[in-house]
Structures are given as C-alpha cells and as structure tokens.
C-alpha cells in the first residue's frame, strides 16, 4: 500500500443543498484506493448524501444543488461532458434495502452488461461465464446455480443483497458504494456480507455508510466521522476508535449522543 498511495475519490469544497437546506458544507476528503472506508455519524449528518454524490443519484430529485468538485479516476464528475451511465458503470451502488430487479437471478447479474453493451453481442456462453464468475465472487453460486431462473425478488434477503453486489461486478466498477447494506439483514447475514466486503476490498474501493459503530470497526480500514454536513475527522479506523483527535468524535463513538 505504501509504495503507491492513490486516491479513488477526491472531493474539494463540496457543498450540497436540498432546496434551501444545506446538507453538505465544504466537504474536502480523499478516499484511498482499494480500502474500505466507512462514513459514520448521527442521523442527518449528511453521510448518505455524500455517498449519493459519488454516483450522482442524488440528482434524481430535482431540487438538489451541488457546488465544488468530486474527482473520480482523475475526472471531475460534475463536469459538463460526464456521461452519467459511464459514471455509474464505474461507481456501483448497493442500497439499504436489497433491491434486485423483478426479473430472474441470471438477468439481474447481466442487466448492467446488457444496458451498457451497444450491440447485442453478448453471447450465451460469455454471459453464462460472467454470471458464474460474479455469483462465485459473492459466494452465491453454490446456493443459486440451480435457481438462476428464479425471480430474484423471491430470494432470502441475504441472498438478495449479495445478488445486488454481484450484479455490479460484471461492470468492473472502480468504486462500490454501500448505503447501510446490512440494516435490513439479521446478524448472521450481516456477518456474511461483511466477510464478502473484506474479500472484495483490494480489488475495489468500497465506501460504506453505517450506523453500526461495531460494524465500522470490524470492516473498515479508514473512518470518516461527519456531523451536521461537515467532516469532523478522517483517519485510520483504529486511530478514530482508540485515540480520536476531535472531542466530538470521541463523544459520538462512546455513545454520548447520536
């Protein structure tokens, strides 16, 4: 890591308003390549908002204004000439509630490829191979190899969430954003998804929003603590939890508020 310390995501003076409520204030943060970084902080601190800036899904709602810049792959994603489909291909997202599409498991995995390949050149053999690879990577292949035709919305929640991760992989994303990916899961499933995240780290840069302090501690390499739309502290997870610099971070981590 030390020989080549790169940043996957660099934001500079990022401000964001929902109508006239300012949700992010001068956020400047660098997220390192290949690590798992957690965004922590009390409800309403802007961590989900920040996460949703990285693939610009915030803009689905018309009343959002953003200033500043976010550099992903050395390109400001708020530039005029950025193609949103391309951006979202490079920056995948996993949501709070598993949201597989109401189509088969197989089609869910290749959905991304299908919408991104212009001519329908995706051969059956090729897509079979891709599906097997992606499902193996998220450790679903053994469970689901005989159920590829099943409607994805009928799977167990844990499998659904893993599938939601699997469908990002064929697109070879740079970054995977996860918005409280385990909050709808029970503790066993949470553990399974966390293990999966650890195994994906390195190949992908993962940014995860979580409410669960213990999870942040278990799973992430670095932590970013946010409060009222501002970055309070950004350091290695160990440092944040053991020797926080900012008294507010210490208070939050020890559960005095939030």
């Amino acid at each position: 890591m030390s020989n080549k310390m790169q940043f996957s995501i660099e934001t500079k003076d990022l401000n964001l308003w929902y109508a006239d409520f300012q949700a992010l204030k001068n956020v400047t943060v660098n997220i390192k390549d290949g690590l798992i970084t957690s965004l922590i902080g009390p409800s309403g601190c802007g961590k989900t908002t920040l996460l949703r800036c990285f693939n610009r899904v915030n803009e689905r709602y018309g009343y959002v204004t953003t200033t500043g810049e976010i550099k992903i792959l050395d390109k400001n994603i708020y530039d005029e000439d950025v193609s949103l489909p391309e951006l979202r291909k490079a920056v995948g997202m996993v949501f709070q509630r598993p949201n597989p599409l109401p189509i088969s498991v197989y089609e869910n995995v290749v959905f991304g490829l299908r919408i991104h390949s212009k001519n329908r050149e995706l051969s059956k053999a090729k897509s079979d191979e891709i599906v097997e690879k992606a499902l193996t990577e998220v450790r679903l292949w053994d469970d689901l190899k005989d159920k590829l035709k099943t409607k994805a919305t009928t799977l167990q929640l844990e499998q659904q969430q893993k599938l939601c991760i699997a469908r990002l992989l064929p697109l070879k994303p740079q970054v995977i954003l996860m918005d409280e990916p385990c909050s709808a899961l029970d503790s066993e499933a949470t553990l399974a998804v966390e293990e999966l995240m650890r195994s994906l780290a390195g190949s992908y840069t993962i940014v995860i929003v979580t409410h669960n302090m213990a999870q942040a501690r278990r799973v992430s390499d670095e932590c970013i603590f946010m409060l009222l739309g501002e970055i309070m502290e950004h350091d290695r997870t160990q440092t944040i939890f053991l020797t926080p610099q900012n008294p507010k971070t210490a208070d939050y981590i020890e559960g005095r508020y939030g």
Binding site: R60, L84, R97, P100, I115
Partner: protein, 297 residues
C-alpha cells in the same frame, strides 16, 4: 346517561347497515339490470331464436313485412372494426402518455396533464358525436376524397380519443405502483431513463398496463351515442376504414324506440343487449383477473 348509551348503540348499528347497503347495492344493481335485460328477451331467446343465424348472418331486416331476418354479424363486425381501430390508435397514445406523465414529466407538467386528461374524460359522448359528425366528417371527405366521412375511421378516432383518458389514468396508476427502489436500482447501474422504462418498468407493470388497455376496450365496445353519430349507421360488413358501419350499441339506441314492446324485434334488441353485456363482462373480468394477478405475486 343510559339513554345516551342506547342512542349510540342504535346509531352505530344504523350507520353500519347503511354503509353495508351502499356497498352491496352495486352488486344488486348489476344483477337486476342483467335480470331485466334477460327477462325482456328471454321468450324469443329460448323459443324461436336460431342462434347460428343470429350470430353468423349479416342480414338484419327486422322490419321486413314478408321475411324478417335477425342476423347481427354485420353489427358485430361494425362494433369490432371500430373498436379495433380505436385501440390501434388509443393504446400507443394512451400508454405513451401514461409513461410520459409518470416518468418523464416534472410535477408541474404532471399535474396539468392529469387535470386536462381527466377533463377529456368528462366530455359528454354526444359532444364527441358532434365533432365526428361535423369536423371529422368534412376532414375525412376532404383528405381522402371520400363520398362520406361518417366511417369506421371517423368512429375509430372519436372512440380512441374517448378511451385514451382511461388508459392513461389506469396505466399511470400501474406505473406508479412499481416500487421506486426498482428505478433507483436501474439508474444506479447506469441505465438511461428510456432503458429503465422498457427494461424495468414495463415488465414490472405489464399486468396493470394490460388491464388499462382492456378497460379502454370495454369503454370502446360499450360506447353508443358518439359512434351512432360518427359511423354513418349503415348496415354492412366493412371492407376498408372508409366504409360506413353500424354497431351493436347504435342499433339498440336507434331502433328500440320504434319496436313495439314485446314484439320479436323488441326482444331481439334486448338479446343484443345481453350479447354486449357478455362481451364487456368478459373484458372487464379479464382485466380484473389480470390486476389480481399482480397482487398475487
């Protein structure tokens, strides 16, 4: 205190029953209407009607002195040709509008469009008939150099305009019922809006959209006044959209007043009523079952 308590119990009971009766009344009315229509036509239907001739002969001569013939094939052909053309126009327009209203318009445009579309549904059918009879008639004569503009084309367009509001509002409901998480998932994977619509929303909402189309069909089959005025009311099996036709509904409307009560002619008109009732019933039932199919899953 005791009196007041008793009053509450009684009023509660009365209110409950009033509401119950309101609810059940719809079933009772439908049943009674069917019973009445059936009763008026049953003697002829059960005794002297040749069902094969009725359904498959195009000869409708209820007033002939020597040889009365009651074949409704031409009327069925009239109804179906007009409905088919109406749907060919209304389905793409209606579904397109539903998709636009639900997915592509901002809230201001959406509200305006919904109000205007509902307004379209509120125009009385006789007014549509006027438009068919005056404006469309001349337009068709001029554009196609036809001898008369009161044709399948005219009726089809008018009926399409009348069915579109139904298709739009029910279709939009169906699209709105698709969970937002599906849209978010597709968008976050990099789908464009249009990819999201045809790869995710249309498959997810297909039952509701089909129901919307079928209810539009039911509307078109049952419409009377506008088609009576716009199709020319001439008895024939149409060979092109520029032929005049006569529909089942229009025949009842035009002839029931002249047929002596209880005569064969009168009874046959009621049998046509039963036929229409059956067609719309089947269409509506199919739509209902399809909508239930969505919830079942």
């Amino acid at each position: 205190m005791d009196n007041r308590r008793r009053f509450e119990v009684i009023s509660e009971f009365l209110i409950e029953w009033t509401i119950k009766i309101c609810g059940i009344s719809a079933i009772v009315f439908v049943f009674l209407i069917f019973l009445f229509v059936f009763r008026e036509g049953k003697d002829f239907l059960l005794n002297s009607l040749d069902l094969k001739e009725f359904l498959f002969s195009p000869e409708w001569y209820p007033d002939s002195v020597s040889h009365k013939r009651y074949g409704v094939l031409a009327l069925i052909a009239g109804t179906f040709s007009v409905t088919l053309l109406a749907m060919a126009i209304a389905v793409p327009f209606g579904l397109g509008a539903a998709i636009f209203v639900s997915e592509f318009s901002n809230s201001k445009v959406k509200e305006t469009l919904k109000i205007v579309i509902e307004l379209l549904a509120a125009i009385p059918s006789v007014v549509w008939g006027f438009i068919g009879l005056s404006i469309m008639n001349e337009l068709i004569i001029e554009m196609f150099d036809a001898p008369i503009g009161l044709t399948v084309l005219n009726g089809g367009i008018i009926l399409a305009l009348m069915s579109v509001p139904i298709i739009v509002s029910i279709g939009e409901d169906a699209l709105k019922a698709v969970p937002d998480s599906y849209r978010e998932a597709a968008v976050a994977l990099g789908a464009t809006r249009w990819q999201m619509v045809y790869k995710v929303l249309l498959p997810a909402a297909k039952n509701g959209l089909l129901a919307a189309v079928l209810l539009g069909v039911a509307r078109a089959v049952g419409e009377t006044m506008a088609v009576l005025m716009a199709t020319g009311h001439s008895l024939q099996i149409p060979h092109s959209v520029l032929d005049s036709v006569r529909t089942l509904t229009a025949t009842i409307a035009a002839e029931l007043g002249e047929a002596p009560v209880g005569s064969d002619h009168y009874q046959v008109l009621f049998i046509i009523g039963i036929l229409l009732f059956t067609i719309t019933f089947i269409v509506n039932l199919t739509a209902d079952l399809i909508v239930k199919g969505i919830r079942g899953k």
